[in-house]
Symmetry: C2
Subunit: 133 residues, 2 copies
Amino acid sequence: MRSHGMRISAARRLVLEALYAADTPISAEQIADGLSGRLPRSDLASVYRNLETLEQLGLVRHCHLGHGPGLYKPTGAREREYLVCDSCHAVSAVAPAEMAAVRALIFERFGYEASFTHFPILGLCAHCARAET
Amino acid sequence: MRSHGMRISAARRLVLEALYAADTPISAEQIADGLSGRLPRSDLASVYRNLETLEQLGLVRHCHLGHGPGLYKPTGAREREYLVCDSCHAVSAVAPAEMAAVRALIFERFGYEASFTHFPILGLCAHCARAET
DNA sequence: ATACTTGCAAATGATTTGCCAGTGT
DNA sequence: ACACTGGCAAATCATTTGCAAGTAT
């Protein structure tokens, strides 16, 4: 982080601590709220500014799993691809390896190097598909 | 439309005309602007209200192809699934049949009945992948 | 006649920007 | 010292809601 000419401040550290403390992607507001009291709160505008900076450095990414606010997560080993149910809105996070065959097929058919880390695959989950009929 | 107990008004007709006149999904604002003068303009709030009503009746759908506003399109025969390039933001619209194998593989692996009509498949298109190196 | 609709204004939610005081290096 | 940051307020963008006046049936 310092290696990018970036300074280390309390607010900055808190953003990263919140992201690493959470086990799912979280919103800027959750970070500013200190994860409901588990960490000190900080200013929402600064959180957004820091998230943007950290994202440009490649330390953070965000995704959109539905119609709510953007959700942020740290980059690195824990990378996940998402499936979200249209009906019950349940989120399934899978390791990229599990998605390899799907990505390969998309590449073969369309020439796209796809990833489902930003936008999820939307669809009916098995449970809701059964319930629909 | 009338069959759902819905009244036919000028504003309502304009929303549908705009959607059918466009050959790609368009934003509520483009509709309210009368497609840059090609149709009469109308009130943005009413456009949103009508889009919501029409969507509940299943006559209209919306999608999110990137970070801009939601984009609306009429339902029916012209249904398309989308791929969007992360780098150049080009949008490819493909007929559902072309995506059948991908959807089948996702179903087999994850039990999801996926569709890429609301959120697109994001990835690097062939051209940008080559350029990135 | 009556309930559904519109248009305008104001509210809301998410995110960004301006500015000046504070602080890391 | 100096440029980089934080906090607070205000601006912006997309969308929703309240309400009085207008209109389809």
